[in-house]
Symmetry: C2
Subunit: 464 residues, 2 copies
């Protein structure tokens, strides 16, 4: 499942993106990753140098740079919409899938919302320069840990031209350069947007070269080999694309391949509440990575819940595939082993009746993707066991899995959702684009003095 | 460069390990990574299940488990020392390199110090269950971010049997299972230690199966393919081993391949202070990853500093390799292009006279490994530019690079030093072995209600 950046309440949220184009993504796995050309290396070095300068800019300078980007986008609206119209024309000629065309299309309202999103990113609090640790190691030897930018982001995404605006603004706000590669079908739109963004930067303290757009497929593959120049790869595409990238780079990759979310309706659940949550989690945006794919139902509530749920799902156009027990209660189609753990990204839902809470935990541990799982129950003990025992980035009680999203979590904007175990995990906001650095200031201290016992560490915590 | 775990003031610190065995490490790159055998998969599943239970244990239970491990080690001292003697005998027969033998050897005092280190890990504050974020998304819809264990660590290390005790105690303290693979030459010692650790766990709330020791080379390679069962790989070996692992697993890898640290003596440096720092940084433990490999000297101070430094380095047995300018000032051997960026891990130091601070920054950016760099200067502006502009995990002023170490930083213990850009970065303590999880508790809320505008998010910060 793809994730998108969500930076405005008006815009649909991160998880709301489709896998309609996942079919295309099988191809990169066949391709070999070429070495970067001298020209690409030179461009990457330029982005890196500009990013290092950007990292030295003040909060106010970065804020103004992002606002200047918004201004320039505003001034270039006509050119951007015209470029997008040309992309759409080419898409029609190429008979692009309707879902892709919908994501490619940038009308005046969508562009306006995206520009507003850029302004909102400017207003987010500065993630840089925060002191996370402050320790006196010994008299006159003081350690600090300070947040700093990562350096350069490598972003590979499909179709959506609005993602260029969102990611570029998040990158600049957090002091990072970015090398962006959009889908071929959006090439004219992306180029027009990047032109505007760089025009904006030219009227700020930040060098326009902190952003670069790659245009060829070879370049986007070679990006994976720019270790030392690119610090984080953010793939925004199909499962196959994400896996290919993970397997072909030493650079850390932020994101997730699968979003196989579960809802477990416990013995002590309120049936009406559970049904409302289940319908939202499945039907509000079935292609989203935070939509549920499997419904687990405790056996003692199944004969009350399913007779209520089946007609409601049918009315919502959801196709159910069940195990034997749920079939006995009216699910028409049998689920095969492949259904468990399948990310339908569509109005299809697997249904299984489980023995008890442990059965649900076991099923999730076996088939889940550690994205987001929810329990509906009025039993506090069951809720606590579920919230403590499920090993996913998000574990929810009595609410829809669809809340797993940076905007809804209150982060203002996000770069994606990570299903990795290590932080940043779950919906990732600006804080996923920063790191820290240890600074130690001394007066000539040597390690030998402490090893010999001549001097001792005090390790005294100082105020942050 | 290898890193080791340092958990006691008595023990030498993390960065103090040698690359004497790096020659051996070239071999894995030639080997293919085999798929895990059904037996290994079964063992990994058992470790994971035990780790999930361990993750539910209280602070007190985990603390007691680590203390029980220390007790059992104490009780098994004779067996462990006998096993180590047998390993040493085999090492002598195999004509193992003296440096390796030194690391392999576990005498009574070293074992006692290691057991004391295990006790100290028990005393470290609990890293789990901390609430990092607490937000009311809306009335009755409350989000928390809570620290939780990673799950299972995969640790691959060479020679040092004491590393088994240190890493196992850090793992259990932080609620993680661990699959450990020691060097073949330490196999008897590792097995005896693991027996004791598991005996200790058997007398605690933690299942002994939370720890497992792999014995064959095939198993240790297959460990790299246990994604989904192992959450973090910690390699503790040569550069070649670390690179091989990075290139052959999708599991995140914590650590560093290179430690190419620089000391820059600025125009405004105090010569005596700079010399003291330089000597410590090079000679206190030349094989450590935080030892300097290159000395950069501002041209205006070179003719004062080098005449002072050259005899001091000669007296300390340090071989210098210089650029033309430093040769003109007395450095005997010419440096080749290969010397810049070389990790000698030995009493060899490259010396270069730079034009100015920018020249130093440029050299570091080109040849450094982003581990730790230091500046000696009395010029505050130069210090600030260096501390802000150098892109390494550690940037130091007027003190030795050798302070880059978890114990010296006051973390109590560390699992290694990371030169990755993303956190955890630099010396990594217990906090590198944890992650977080988002918990959301609601009352039946659906995303649709917020998307339609029927309800609004409050995103109100609650007390942590």
């Amino acid at each position: 499942m793809t994730s998108i950046v969500s930076s405005s309440p008006a815009a649909s949220s991160t998880a709301d993106s489709s896998t309609a184009d996942s079919a295309r993504a099988a191809s990169p796995a066949a391709a070999a990753v070429p070495d970067p050309s001298p020209e690409l290396l030179q461009r990457a070095v330029t982005v890196r140098q500009s990013a290092m300068d950007l990292g030295q800019c003040s909060d106010r300078q970065r804020q103004q740079a992002v606002l200047a980007m918004a201004e320039a986008l505003q001034a270039s609206r006509q050119a951007i919409l015209a470029a997008n119209a040309a992309d759409l024309e080419a898409a029609a000629a190429d008979q692009l899938a309707p879902a892709l065309v919908a994501r490619l299309k940038l009308d005046a309202a969508k562009l306006e919302a995206a520009i507003e999103g850029v302004r909102q990113v400017a207003a987010l609090p500065d993630p840089l320069g925060q002191r996370q640790l402050h320790t006196e190691l010994d008299q006159g030897l003081v350690l600090e840990r300070i947040t700093v930018p990562l350096g350069v982001l490598g972003v590979i995404f499909e179709a959506r031209p609005d993602a260029v605006m969102q990611i570029a603004s998040l990158a600049i706000r957090s002091g990072n350069g970015a090398i962006l590669k959009g889908g071929r079908e959006a090439s004219r739109s992306c180029a027009a947007i990047l032109d505007a963004l760089q025009e904006g930067l030219a009227r700020s303290a930040v060098a326009p070269e902190a952003l670069a757009l790659l245009t060829s497929r070879e370049e986007s593959l070679a990006l994976l080999k720019l270790d030392g120049l690119v610090d984080l790869i953010i793939p925004r595409g199909s499962n196959a694309l994400v896996r290919f990238i993970q397997d072909n780079t030493r650079i850390p990759v932020l994101g997730h391949a699968d979003g196989v979310c579960h809802l477990y309706v416990d013995a002590a659940a309120d049936c009406a509440l559970s049904l409302r949550v289940a319908l939202d989690a499945k039907t509000h945006y079935p292609a989203a990575c935070n939509a549920i794919e499997t419904l687990l139902v405790h056996r003692t509530i199944a004969d009350r819940f399913l007779p209520l749920a089946l007609p409601a799902f049918a009315a919502a156009g959801v196709e159910l595939r069940g195990d034997a027990a749920s079939q006995a209660l009216g699910v028409a189609v049998a689920a095969s082993e492949d259904d468990w753990g399948c990310e339908y990204s569509d109005l299809i839902l697997a249904v299984k009746v489980v023995e008890d809470l442990d059965g649900a935990l076991e099923h999730i541990s076996r088939y889940g993707s550690r994205h987001t799982e929810a329990i509906c129950t009025a039993d506090e003990q069951a809720a606590d066991r579920f919230l403590a025992g499920v090993d996913s980035a998000g574990v929810f009680l009595n609410c829809s899995t669809r809340f797993a999203d940076g905007f809804r979590y209150g982060f203002g904007a996000e770069v994606g959702i990570s299903t990795q175990t290590l932080p940043p995990r779950g919906p990732v906001g600006l804080e996923g684009l920063i790191t820290y650095r240890y600074r130690l200031r001394g007066q000539g201290q040597t390690a030998a003095d402490y090893a010999s016992g001549e001097r001792q560490f005090s390790h005294r915590a100082l105020p942050l």
